[in-house]
């Protein structure tokens, strides 16, 4: 393999990895606060892309405004989902909430099929994102520069909110012990709603960036990215926001490099992603940056 070729693969890997990271951050945040695997995250991601799409198509908003509105609207959808499907189950066993999440996921997918039709749609790409730069034989699409930047900004903003603001303090308190937080005067429901709003907003950003990178949206577009982001989140240690970031990049790198170095095994790409996950988990049972599970006797 020549060096420029390797660099091209590396560029592809960073582009894919930062997308995974972006989606995984939202995934892991909801988990960190609620201990809930939000299987609907991938479908909220899809809704975000569709809202942006229709914002441009139907009300012909300028693209940047459409994207902003999509992020806000999707946050609102996230609050609605929490209100309808998760909040009533707050005191129920964890698994009930998980099944509820799967139910929400099925609902969003099929709702999208009925309302938006199952046929794929072309996502609008502003020219700003579609310029191709050729640097020493390495082709890079301009959107590829934006994705990691946005991922890092999201990471920083999230860290700021969680560690430097009052609602963030409430989130940490709820994450630590929901009942005690309630006793101490934290409005638990509002804090969780905020968590969902943030998580869904991040999913929408992920959906829009995904649409800019791979300009095809369809109702099932969130399934595979959602699963991959889940893998990335677990890989990094679920609940850890920087961990999700690392997990996303590791996953992207692993997938691309398998194809790069062993093209004949390209069909095993997904299996390889899971294999890496399992090996990491066997070495570090709570992921790369995961906290050790407390053992209560």
């Amino acid at each position: 393999m020549t060096f420029p070729l390797f660099l091209q693969h590396l560029a592809n890997a960073i582009s894919l990895g930062s997308l995974y990271a972006l989606i995984a951050i939202g995934y892991t945040m909801v988990y960190g606060i609620l201990r809930l695997i939000n299987f609907a995250h991938g479908d909220i991601f899809m809704m975000g892309a569709y809202v942006a799409f229709y914002g441009i198509l139907l009300i012909s908003l300028p693209w940047w405004l459409a994207f902003a509105v999509a992020v806000l609207l999707t946050s609102f959808i996230g609050i609605l989902i929490d209100r309808g499907a998760y909040r009533p189950l707050r005191s129920a066993p964890r698994i009930s909430a998980l099944i509820s999440a799967i139910g929400v996921s099925f609902f969003l997918q099929n709702f999208a099929i009925v309302v938006f039709s199952g046929r794929p749609k072309a996502f609008f790409r502003p020219p700003l994102f579609t310029r191709v730069f050729v640097i020493k034989g390495v082709n890079i699409l301009s959107v590829t520069f934006f994705i990691p930047v946005i991922a890092f900004i999201s990471l920083a903003a999230l860290s700021y909110i969680i560690y430097r603001t009052k609602p963030g303090l409430a989130m940490r308190a709820v994450s630590h012990d929901m009942e005690t937080a309630r006793i101490m005067g934290v409005d638990v429901d509002r804090t969780i709603a905020l968590t969902f709003a943030l998580g869904s907003g991040l999913a929408a950003i992920g959906g829009i960036m995904w649409g800019l990178r791979y300009p095809q949206i369809q109702p099932l577009m969130g399934v595979i990215p959602g699963l991959k982001a889940f893998v990335a989140a677990i890989l990094g240690g679920i609940g850890s926001v920087p961990g999700a970031m690392i997990g996303g990049f590791v996953l992207g790198l692993a997938e691309i490099m398998l194809v790069a170095f062993a093209p004949a095994l390209a069909g095993y790409r997904d299996a390889f992603a899971f294999l890496i996950l399992i090996v990491v988990l066997l070495l570090r049972p709570t992921g790369i940056l995961g906290r050790r599970l407390e053992e209560k006797v």
């Binding site: 988990y31 998980l98 139910g103 099925f106 699963l227 679920i238 299996a271 996950l277 006797v297």
Partner: protein, 355 residues
């Protein structure tokens, strides 16, 4: 404390219970004969699927509900059982006609076995896979175990797509003999329930539940965590393999896509809706789930209610289905049955008291 008279009562009660059980089994047998002769193939197909879902749900319930191990690998074990059984029951000529890209590897291409040994081999192979996968991963906890087992199931599926000389890849297998009928499927379901119920009530089952409730406490009491987790996992995957085998010989054509992780989600939904650690619940939910999916089909057909004509809306069925699912889980947080089982206790108690 029991007195002598209640001692006699309980002996009688036990006899009565056994009588009821035998009677209900006979009723089951008779209704199967009736169904086989009187119902049309569509109904029979749905009933077969009900039984297969019962097998899959009770086996996942053993792993998750009783032993407390959150495994999402069921679709993978089903795939192993289904492919093994299908390859063993297909005729050599059918195999040759199906493997159009590259021929099936040698010993498999000529072997043909009757259904029963093929099912058993499918189940045993799935159990072996269960052991290979379970042994390293079962020390993971909770959600980490879930994703690791889901990962293994996906790996099995991806290998199924790529190992074309064994699985025929994405083209799948076709022309699998249609051996599965009501007797096979419901018979297998009955045996599954029997074995899992016996296991759960045995000291092994108690140990599994102890592991579920508190691993450290169980270990202190001398329960081997590894042994009991793996035992539940291996037996659960055996029955998943059997369920897969029955499914393969019911649909008569399978491909790796059949065993995508969504399938595991569906079984998980059945288990949770029925009630974790309730075999009765798993049975009821499996039947309800299977029939509901079919019963909602008319929703998509064009309807005429009085003067209003509503054109069919494709996809509406799944929207309603997911809403029903959400409603059930919101109102029955512990599942339909909780941890309860259906038994003859209430009936027997009443009868004993009367006399």
């Amino acid at each position: 404390m029991e007195t002598m008279s209640s001692y006699a009562d309980s002996t009688r009660a036990m006899r009565l219970k056994r009588l009821f059980t035998i009677a209900s089994l006979i009723a089951l047998g008779l209704s199967l004969v009736w169904a086989n002769h009187r119902l049309d193939p569509y109904m029979v197909r749905i009933l077969n699927l009900c039984a297969i879902n019962i097998i899959l749900a009770t086996s996942l319930n053993l792993i998750f509900g009783f032993a407390g191990q959150f495994s999402l690998g069921h679709a993978g074990f089903m795939a192993v059982g289904a492919y093994a059984c299908a390859l063993l029951t297909m005729t050599p000529a059918q195999k040759e006609a199906t493997f159009i890209i590259s021929p099936l590897i040698r010993p498999l291409a000529t072997i043909q076995l009757p259904f029963l040994p093929a099912i058993l081999i499918g189940g045993i192979l799935a159990a072996i896979f269960g052991f290979i996968i379970g042994a390293p991963t079962l020390r993971l906890r909770g959600d980490y175990l879930a994703i690791a087992s889901l990962g293994f199931a996906e790996i099995i599926r991806v290998v199924g797509n790529n190992a074309i000389p064994i699985t025929n890849g994405a083209l799948g297998l076709k022309g699998i003999p249609e051996y599965t009928n009501l007797y096979w499927s419901w018979g297998a379901a009955a045996i599954t329930i029997f074995i899992i119920k016996r296991l759960v009530d045995s000291s092994y089952g108690r140990a599994m539940m102890a592991v579920r409730e508190n691993e450290i406490a169980a270990e202190v009491m001398g329960v081997s965590l590894f042994y009991h987790k793996v035992l539940a996992f291996v037996i659960g995957s055996f029955f998943a393999g059997v369920g897969g085998a029955l499914l393969a010989n019911l649909v008569t054509t399978i491909d790796p896509k059949t065993f995508i992780f969504i399938l595991t989600f569906n079984i998980l939904i059945i288990v949770v809706i029925g009630g974790l650690a309730s075999i009765t619940g798993s049975c009821l939910a499996a039947i309800g789930y299977t029939i509901l999916l079919e019963a909602l089909r008319p929703l998509e057909a064009p309807m005429t209610i009085g003067p209003v004509h509503i054109p069919g809306v494709p996809g509406l069925r799944m929207v309603i289905f997911s809403l029903v699912l959400l409603a059930v889980i919101l109102f029955y947080r512990q599942g339909l049955m909780g941890k309860r089982e259906f038994g003859w206790g209430w009936l027997v108690r009443r009868m004993v008291r009367k006399t």
